[in-house]
Structure formats: structure tokens, C-alpha cells
Amino acid sequence: MPFAFFISMAYQIEVTHLSKHYQVHEKEPGLMGSLRSFVARKYRAVKAVDDVSFNIGQGEMVGFLGPNGAGKTTTLKVLAGLLYPTSGKATVLGFTPNKRENAYLKQFTLVMGQKQQLMWDLPAQETFLVNQAIYEIPRAQYDATIKELDDLLELGPIMKKQVRKLSLGERMKCELAAALLHRPRVLFLDEPTIGLDVTMQARIREFIAEYNRRYGATVMLTSHYMADVTALCDRIIVIDKGRLFYDGNFRALIERVAPYKIIKLQLAQPTTAEALAQFGQVESCNGLTAVLHVPRATATESAARLLSQVKVEDVTFEEPPVEDIIREVFAGIGKDEARGAR
């Protein structure tokens, strides 16, 4: 059951049967191939987004997952008004994004971790001033926002240094600040933490959460780092090859794909896999250590039984790692398709 179904307020982002197709030119390998495509080019239609529907309510933080080329960025760009949908409809805050009305442009922001809007040779505050003029932010509000962003991101010293002299993390802080000066109500964040070290990733994440809390902003986030998504988003949307694969509560997905818990055992005396098989699925067993997957529903019971029957030095219970779950989700998609093709 989609999580959004339970939210009673009006949706801020509505996407219905959205498709975005485009043509790419195929290059053949080799010398003859490049000669041939020099004369007559072959084109192939790519379905970047294919009949995708979802709704997002105000203040929600939604993680957007999928392998490379799944259509995440394309969807974000459609929502930001950069791409026209081939068919279907997208509405954000009641606007049609691709009309790019100023009233709409002033209410959202787009951050792309791999691209930057800051002026390279100048301190970030010069870009801030340009954005202040572009978004017509009143002086007082501008000062207040800068002060607030400074508190949250410790911008003070770095916004006065030339951007090219900043570290990647410092640059990202400034990028975020530049993107949030006009206090947008909707945030489209495409890989905002890419390339950053773990501590900096965590800082950025905290900041996004704090911004969401303070302003009730709606956030759509794509990331390669699962930690970003687990930390920020209750709800995730998974797409692959342009098609919506899953939309709903993150926990629910875990239950569905990985309905088990992991028990790691440190045994007192060597045991065989056969002996452990009665408690759950044995993933590995080599003498004194073993890893078991036990069904979620009966996890406690199995564990109790196990502890009473086997001599154990140490035991830990773990949730399946999110990366594995997602990998399994995508593997599942592959299998579905293979089946569908036959």
C-alpha cells in the first residue's frame, strides 16, 4: 500500500502516466563504423521515463532510487521544467513545470551534485548576491537567510574564499546555500553528496533534514549512497529502465524483499551447517562462526531455540544491509523482465 495514500493533505507534486522518450544516435565501433555513421546516422528511441505515476505531499522527503540511467535525473528535470514530457502530466505546486513561469521558478530549487552554479573564480558570496537579485530577495530576508545558513553550514569563512580554492565539501555547502537563498518550498536534489567524504555527507544530510523540519519543504532526493536515503527518507520510489518499480514505505520494502533477519554466531565448539539448518537458512558456516537468515516473523522464537540448544560464545542480530536489499530489488526486476520476454 503506497505510503502517500495515507496523507490527507493536498499533493504538492503530482505525476500521472509520465513518459519521456528521446532519440540517441548510435555510433558503430571501428573506422568503417564511424565512416558509416558519418554518412547515415542510426537513431534509437530511448524510453528514459515510461508511464510513471506518483504523488508527493507537502513536507515529505522522498528518496528516488534506481541504477544508473534508470530515469531518476530525467524525472527530476521534468519536474524542474527542464524537459517536456513526451506524454502524461506533471504538476508541482499547481504549476505545469515546463511553462517555467517565474512564480514557479521562485519556489523550487535544483541542486546537482555533479554540476555547479557558483562562479569559479570568485567567492561564493558573489554568486549569492547575483541570486539575491535574480530571486528578488529583500535585503532583510537575505541577511537573515545568510545568517541562518551560516549557523547550519558554518559558511562564514568559506563564502569569502574563491570557489576554486575550496574543497569539494566546502563547495557543496556553498552550492546548497546558493540554491536555498530564496527559501524554496520544493527541493530537487540530484546526488547532493556525491564525491564527499563520510563526515561531510553526514553534515549535508543533517542540513537537509533541518531545512525540511524548519520550512516544511518537500524534498526529492536521488543518491548513490544508501545512507543518505535511509537517514532522510521514510518513503522511497524505485525506478528502473524508466518504469516505476516500487513506491512506498522503506521498511515495507525491506519486509517484502528481505523478510528475514541475520543472526551472526560465534560458536563455542565446531558445528556443521546441517546441525544449524533446523534454525534457519545457513548462509555460511565455517567451524566456529556461522551466519543464518531467519524469517522475520519467527526470528525471536528461532533465536531462543538456537540459544538453548547450541553453545554460543557471542551472537548478534542484524537487519539485512540496505545495499543488498536494493541489489536484490534490481535483480528481481531483471528476472521479471527475462520472464516477461519469454
Partner: protein
């Protein structure tokens, strides 16, 4: 109002950047002066073999050389840096930031950068014009100067429009840099009065790639030889070209799909 404030901010940013690279200023000033002398030497070489080119005397042609330098300076100062940036932004995808801003995207994309040291060329061009006029012994009156100013403005509008159209092509073609090279070599025809060129070439240079409106006609204006038809033609040409460039930009944006889709 907001746009004026933005131009001010862009200008400030450009000055700051140029102060960053002080050495540039000196190097480029020298290069500019080198180019100016080449232009003058070039014109002089022709006149060692002939008295008139296309019916223009040496000093009259020198007025054209001056305009050629002045407009070339304006192109390098205001157009080239922005166009290069547009091409780059389309290639790496940062054009998205421009398009998601609540300002006119053509303004934002084409007015942002300036290469201020090319001011040297603009000034040098002005000096050449003044020098040539002095040698001819012609001092333009108020009306002539006004007409000249209008013709110059139209020349700027026309050049801007041509460059915008070329930059807009970068939404479809990867190496638009070559297109600007092409324009630069066509612009070289502007060193000489358009009457130098015969037949189809003259028509092309007047109506298709209107180089005549950029150097020859303004030169005629400051020399007091402007015909009414040219004046009206310049106004019409400027308006049409500008409207086309704006339409083409909007059309391209409409069709724009970023490289990474």
C-alpha cells in the same frame, strides 16, 4: 530595474575576476595593439598598389578599419565570452541552472560575462576613426553624429543577434566553436568597404550575413555619406535579426534536452 541591478552585479563580478588575473590585462593589451597595427599595415599594403578600393580612398578605408577594430573589440568584450560560456554550459549541463532561474534566460545567458580588457580595441578603433577623419578634414555635425550613433547601435544589435544564433546552435551541434571561427573569417570581409565585393558576394554580405551594416554603413554615416535607404535598412535589419535570434533561442530552449537526459 532588476535587470539593471543584475547587469551591475555581473559587471562587478567581471571586474573582480579580471583583477584576479592582472597579467592577462597586460598580455592582452599588447596582443590587441599588435592586431590593430596589423589591420593598419594590411590596409596600407593595398594602397601602395592602388589609389582606391571599391571607390574608397585610403583615409576613408581607414575609417572602416577603425570601425572594424572597434566592433571587433565589442565582439570580444561582450559576445565571445558569453557565447563560449553558453556552449560550455550546454555541453556540461549547467545550462539547467540558467533555465531554472526566474529571469529571461537569453538575458541571463548572454549578458553575464565580459572581457573588459578588449576595451583597448574599442578605444583604439575610436582613435583610428578620429585620426582618419582628421586627415580627411571632415568634422561631423550633430545630426551626423546622431545618425552614426544609431547606425553603430544597430551594428551592435545585428552582431549580437548573429552571435546569439550561432550560440543557440550549440543545442544541436557539439563543436559550435568552429561556427564562430567561420563568422570571424566572414567578419574579416568587414576590413574593406562592401563595394569591393562584386555580384552575389556583395548581396550576401549585405543581406544574408550583413557585414555591410557592421562596418561599411556606419562608416558612411560618420563620413556624412549615409543614404536614407541604408538608415531604414539598418533599423529593419536590426529589428528582424534581433527578433529572429530571440525566437530561435526560445525555440531551442523548447527543444532542449540535456545531454544526460
Amino acid at each position: 530595474m532588476r535587470y539593471i541591478k543584475l547587469i551591475g552585479l555581473f559587471l562587478k563580478a567581471n571586474i573582480l575576476v579580471e583583477l584576479e588575473y592582472r597579467a592577462n590585462f597586460i598580455a592582452h593589451s599588447l596582443v590587441s595593439l599588435g592586431w590593430v597595427s596589423i589591420t593598419i599595415i594590411g590596409t596600407t599594403v593595398f594602397f601602395t598598389q592602388t589609389d582606391t578600393i571599391g571607390g574608397w580612398t585610403f583615409y576613408e578605408t581607414l575609417v572602416i578599419s577603425g570601425l572594424f577594430t572597434l566592433m571587433g573589440g565589442l565582439i570580444q568584450m561582450l559576445l565571445q565570452p558569453n557565447i563560449q560560456k553558453i556552449i560550455e554550459m550546454v555541453r556540461v549541463g549547467t545550462m539547467d541552472f540558467v533555465l531554472t532561474k526566474p529571469v529571461n534566460s537569453q538575458f541571463m545567458a548572454s549578458m553575464r560575462y565580459a572581457q573588459l580588457f578588449s576595451l583597448v580595441d574599442v578605444i583604439a578603433g575610436g582613435v583610428i576613426i578620429a585620426f582618419a577623419l582628421g586627415r580627411i578634414g571632415f568634422s561631423p555635425d550633430g545630426l551626423t553624429l546622431l545618425l552614426f550613433a544609431v547606425m553603430l547601435l544597430m551594428a551592435v544589435v545585428i552582431v549580437y543577434s548573429i552571435w546569439m544564433v550561432m550560440a543557440t546552435c550549440s543545442f544541436w551541434f557539439v563543436k559550435v566553436g568552429n561556427l564562430t571561427e567561420l563568422f570571424n573569417s566572414v567578419y574579416d570581409t568587414g576590413r574593406f568597404p562592401v563595394s569591393t565585393y562584386q555580384g552575389v558576394l556583395r548581396i550576401v554580405l549585405t543581406l544574408v550575413i550583413p557585414i555591410a551594416f557592421i562596418t561599411t554603413f556606419p562608416a558612411q554615416a560618420i563620413l556624412g555619406k549615409l543614404e536614407p535607404g541604408m538608415f531604414v535598412g539598418a533599423l529593419v535589419m536590426g529589428a528582424v535579426m534581433f527578433a529572429f535570434s530571440a525566437w530561435f533561442w526560445r525555440y531551442a530552449i523548447g527543444r532542449y534536452s540535456s545531454a544526460s537526459s
